[in-house]
């Protein structure tokens, strides 16, 4: 197990190729949940958990079932199916186990399955031919990067409510402008690790 490679993967997917700020994926959930800090933290933890499980399951289904049967062309459909099933299961489980978090997340828990990142990660794993541990590390790194993005945005948006924003820019437009500025800042990470 090459820990160096794993560490590189985590840092790369969290900072260098941050899915929100560099690749601009998963933006609807990003803007929807980043209004308050508690929903942001809850969402990012749930998202990382669902991401790692779905990456693991997708990798196993791809390697052991789809490749021998030559049906790799179905991978987009299959990965989305796995994600949807997992999200529904986690919805049912969370309703019983953590009802406070469930009520706080509301509709956004079900919207994890529409998040582009959750499809992009298994596809990247397939495309880059990672083995099982590397896929898990990559998924963990993406989840961490998403969490980082959410927490930064939530802390800014909570303060933004008090500031004097011009009328047409109130709410989402200003959030978009700020995301662009943060993305600009994140380009500073490029070249940190060449992958």
């Amino acid at each position: 197990m090459d820990f160096g490679k794993l560490f590189e993967l985590i840092v790369s997917s969290a900072l260098v190729n941050n899915y929100v700020f560099t690749m601009f994926l998963g933006l609807c959930i990003f803007f929807g949940v980043s209004k308050r800090m508690e929903t942001a933290i809850g969402m990012s933890v749930t998202f990382t958990a669902v991401m790692m499980v779905s990456a693991a399951m997708s990798w196993m289904v791809f390697k052991f079932i789809m490749v021998p049967l030559n049906i790799e062309y179905l991978m987009i459909i299959v990965f989305i199916g796995i994600v949807a099933g997992l999200v529904q299961a986690s919805d049912t489980v969370m309703r019983k186990v953590a009802p406070d978090l469930y009520n706080k997340l509301g509709i956004y828990l079900a919207l994890i399955s529409t998040n582009c990142i959750i499809l992009a990660v298994p596809l990247s794993n397939v495309g880059n031919k990672y083995n099982f541990i590397e896929s898990l590390a990559f998924a963990f790194g993406s989840g961490t990067g998403f969490a980082l993005a959410l927490i930064i945005m939530a802390s800014i948006r909570e303060k933004l409510e008090l500031a004097d924003v011009p009328g047409p820019f109130k709410g989402l437009p200003m959030a978009f402008v700020i995301t662009g500025l943060i993305a600009l800042a994140f380009t500073g990470f490029s070249g940190l690790i060449t992958l």
């Binding site: 179905l74 199916g81 309703r95």
Partner: protein, 403 residues
């Protein structure tokens, strides 16, 4: 015809070039790519395995989800939904629970939780919830938010000019706010901003004004105020010292013309011993205060506010008066006068409209004060109940005798 074809061909060629160029601009990260091309595709087994696999996977997922739904099922009492329909959904926390759904669950499940806790929804909701859960709705006195500061921009001094985010929570970070009095309202409107019912508006002179019609006593403003200037009190507390200044008298007077200087005049004049001076601030105690309004006119700095909208003067109906002189005994300003057993009359010049005589008159001969309607209605209710009891006793006595 040929020209059209060549034009279309050229267009297609251009479009293909653009598509190729775009693939260089979009970052290539192997998403959906890099599956080796196969030289030969066997269509028969491919179709077969695709169908079997998709069918199998959906069946497996179906079973897994059905199992999860059964095992982690949450039993929801249908009454919770009904209760939720009656609540105000302001998410204010007045009931003491974290959210509206938590209160609904508690009131349905726990027999000790009162159905009247949702103050924003009012008595109607309390009656409905009582009907749904089978509990008794208690009459809860409405509570209003009171702003305990009258130092507006003309009456209170400021220490420095504050330029920043126009919010009290932000202003208080800058050395406790720009007001000279450390206990005063800063006037930047945080309370008006957080009120879910729009009950607070900022006046032209920079003080919040509470609209009693809209205020539900949810306490959101009290939690948001960084200076802790807002108190939520029962609606019957209508005479209050609207100042929180614990500074010594001369210091308070220097900072604000309308602050409480703890001179003790209100303590001396009150016939019911309601105000108490503690830590350079006078506080009126609810148990003793009869809302007469005498201290309001006697306070030298006008720090005491009277929240009764209008005080009409009392007048005695000579037809009903029995001359018992109870009104003369309870009056704080000695306005009623008259001989024993003869109809009395009230000196309108000295009457302050406190309403105590109206409440104390045994025959409800006095009217004209702000509490006239309530006193008369309570007296009617008492008479009706007494009549009912008398009728019951009479019929109860009749039955055994007929047997």
């Amino acid at each position: 015809m040929l020209d059209v074809y060549t034009m279309i061909a050229e267009l297609a060629g251009t479009l293909r070039q653009i598509a190729e160029a775009v693939t260089y601009i979009v970052p290539q990260v192997g998403v959906g790519g890099e599956i080796e091309a196969k030289p030969f595709i066997d269509l028969g087994p491919l179709m077969k395995w695709s169908l079997i696999f998709l069918f199998g996977m959906s069946t497996v997922f179906g079973f897994v989800l059905a199992f999860a739904a059964k095992k982690f099922a949450v039993k929801v009492d249908p009454r919770v939904e009904q209760v939720l329909g009656t609540l105000a959904h302001a998410h204010c926390g007045a009931c003491g629970y974290a959210g509206c759904e938590q209160y609904a669950v508690a009131v349905v499940g726990d027999p000790n939780v009162s159905p009247s806790l949702c103050t924003p929804a009012g008595e109607k909701a309390a009656a409905k919830i009582a009907a749904i859960t089978g509990k008794k709705a208690e009459v809860v006195e409405p509570q209003y938010a009171r702003i305990m500061c009258q130092g507006d921009c003309n009456l209170a001094k400021t220490r420095y000019k504050y330029e920043g985010v126009a919010d009290c929570r932000a202003a208080v970070i800058a050395g406790g706010g720009d007001k000279a009095c450390a206990f005063g309202c800063l006037g930047y409107g945080t309370c008006a901003h957080v009120c879910p019912f729009g009950a607070i508006a900022m006046s032209a002179t920079g003080l919040p004004v509470v609209d009693e019609g809209k205020c539900t006593g949810c306490r959101k403003c009290k939690a948001a105020c960084p200076k802790k200037v807002i108190e939520v009190l029962p609606s019957s507390r209508r005479v209050l010292v609207t100042c929180h200044s614990k500074d010594k008298g001369p210091d308070t007077k220097k900072n604000c013309q309308i602050g409480c200087i703890a001179c003790g005049i209100c303590v001396k004049v009150c016939p019911f011993e309601a105000p108490k001076v503690d830590k350079n601030l006078s506080v009126i105690h609810i148990e003793k205060c009869k809302v007469c309004g005498l201290c309001v006119s006697k306070c030298p700095t006008k720090a005491i506010s009277d929240f009764v909208p209008s005080r009409g003067k009392a007048a005695i109906d000579p037809a009903k008066c029995i001359g018992c002189s109870i009104c003369a005994k309870v009056c704080p300003v000695d306005a009623p006068h008259g001989e024993a057993k003869k109809p009395h009359s009230i000196n309108a010049a000295s009457c302050i409209g406190c309403g105590i005589c109206t409440a104390k008159c045994p025959v409800q001969a006095i009217s004209g004060t702000f509490n006239t309607r309530e006193v008369f209605a309570a007296a009617e209710l008492k008479k009706a109940k007494a009549a009912e009891k008398a009728a019951e006793k009479a019929s109860g006595a009749a039955v055994p005798s007929s047997n």
